[in-house]
Symmetry: C2
DNA sequence: TCGTAATAATGAATCGTTTCAAAAGAAGGA
DNA sequence: TCCTTCTTTTGAAACGATTCATTATTACGA
């Protein structure tokens, strides 16, 4: 029992295959009664268009590939949702790939998307993939970097000024009078992490009596944050930083868990804490978390718009959009 | 500048197209030196297999479609990640569709996946789609229900016993001495919500002096929880329930925000609170949240396994796997 | 040297659409 | 009736990879 093809429909309706195709793609070209006859044959036979054949003939699919660092991170899930919606209004579908900070999986998704001849790729890269992306564009696939910037302006990109974000967060701690600052870093291979650190460095540099310590976390998750927290507490109270800036909210939440629950430190009295991303859960944390807000949905939507722009008008120069981050003050630094 | 095809590679290497195809699919059938020559032509020309052509010929793609209710919900993102991993080991890729509780988007993704001739569909349905799914299977696409059960055993499924989960949560509240129980429901069109409520009803029925009140939330999000919380507080303290069970953790976190921050109620003293899903953030809430744990990753992995099972051996009967939920007690009910 | 068997390479046919030049049909005017 | 114009329908060609029956090549023993 083979699926019905356009030829079966044509036979059933007593017309030529070209007519069936026209009914599907240019209904106005077909006389109303013929059209009706074909449509009822389609539903009689349960005909479903074969996208592979369509794509083969058209030379391109109607989908856009999106590769994110971590779909479990609310920042990215919100971004993806907005991208999907924006693409849908442009008549395209988004297929989502989750690299999970794994370069191999990232590369695997790039392969897959290229074989599927997606119209374009939105990617928030793990590894240095500029070579691969360049090859992709050379073969006609449009690329937009998301939450990342092209060093050489070779690609369109949508990002947030993470240096400024790091600066905002750290200056906030310093203005509260904190001087022993710690930055909890995720993998420094990530540009986001490096930029946020750079911003923190700049801010600390503006206060001569302040110090900055950098602590590495294995990944940017709640669990990793907890691990760093446990490590920190082992030092004893005197050795603790009094202001901590985490590379993202997940780390901050984990740290908070460790400090307040396992060890009975007070936030913000003993340690003031700032996260990054302002995910929904930041506001409902044990101590509501001060954070840096990034417009996740806006980023996703804008990225699709840049891509569509490139698709519509053939030769457009790459554009980079940079959004400004925003400090959201809550209990973890304000002491109510 | 057209992308290189298998024919271009054949010309460049001075062999027939069939030989190139063999190099790609059955390398052993080709003499080593020929193979090398072809491979170097492939990299010279930057040849990338055209998946559409491959699929057209093969009659099926190598992808599996996954439609989830809400990718922003950590339960589903964790489920998806596990499904992707499991599929990758089986040589398949997962494409993710997020219905966002929207029947139209769900239907749209079903269309898309069917046109793409995915090997199978994993779906956590919003609307009643059994008719559509039946049609899908009739045309040869395998279907596995996720976090949902087929009423009539027509499909394989992986789920958690939500009635039991609702019972566990509610009995816990009752055993703490609470008697005015409220259930914060999400959309009752969802089987999950109905089942959890049913479990709550059963538990309340076992305590003759207990009452159950059902409050509806527009959606299962933090925001909706906050709205219900505000509504609840307007009644005044005497009218409040003393035990609240929420249809999921997001609702519970929103409720918690509203009760503790805007209105100064104490959890668990004034109101004991239980959520559902045990997402990562439950443990790091203002008051760590008691919840019902569902093995999200295991569900995703098992769903893929059931699907692969159906794909390998043609005529297998549908199987249903039901996992048991687990009560995780934290501060929101235990009073430290 | 010849014959046989094993190994390697070939290339036409196929999958299901879309496209488009050409043919057929309809309508109207002279 | 014939010609023109406009609308509708036709069906072969093309997209690019895979398959498989056929042909070519090689190796080896007699």
């Amino acid at each position: 029992m083979r699926a019905a093809s356009i030829k079966d429909v044509a036979n059933h309706a007593g017309v030529a295959v070209g007519t069936v195709s026209n009914v599907l793609n240019y209904p106005d070209r077909v006389a109303p009664q013929t059209r009706e006859r074909v449509l009822s044959s389609i539903s009689d036979l349960g005909f479903v268009r074969n996208d592979a054949a369509r794509q083969l003939r058209a030379g391109r699919s109607r989908t856009i590939g999106l590769i994110v660092l971590d779909i479990g991170n609310p920042f990215f899930s919100s971004l993806s949702r907005a991208a999907e919606d924006a693409a849908a209004t442009g008549g395209r579908a988004v297929v989502l790939g989750n690299s999970g900070h794994d370069a191999q999986r990232e590369s695997h998704y790039l392969d897959l998307f290229e074989e599927q001849q997606v119209q374009g790729v939105l990617i928030s890269p793990v590894a240095n993939v500029s070579e691969r992306l360049r090859a992709l564009t050379a073969r006609g696939t449009k690329v937009v970097l998301v939450d990342s910037r092209a060093d050489d302006g070779g690609f369109s990109s949508v990002s947030v000024d993470d240096v400024q974000g790091g600066h905002l967060a750290t200056r906030h701690l310093l203005e509260l009078g904190r001087r022993k600052i710690a930055f909890i870093a995720g993998p420094q291979s990530l540009r986001q992490v490096r930029d946020r650190l750079e911003g923190a460095r700049q801010a600390v540099g503006e206060f001569p009596d302040a110090t900055l310590e950098v602590l590495d976390a294995a990944e940017m998750s709640v669990l990793a944050g907890r691990t760093v927290g446990d490590l920190l507490v082992e030092r004893g109270l005197a050795e603790l930083p009094d202001g901590v800036f985490c590379a993202n909210d997940l780390l901050a939440l984990g740290l908070m868990q460790s400090l307040t629950m396992l060890h009975t430190l007070r936030i913000p009295e003993d340690v003031a804490l700032v996260g990054y991303d302002d995910i929904d859960f930041a506001a409902s944390a044990i101590v509501p978390l001060t954070s840096i807000r990034q417009p996740a949905a806006l980023i996703g939507q804008t990225a699709i718009e840049l891509l569509l722009e490139q698709l519509e008008s053939e030769a457009t120069v790459p554009r980079s959009v940079v959004f400004k981050p925003e400090l959201v003050v809550r209990g973890s630094t304000s002491g109510k």
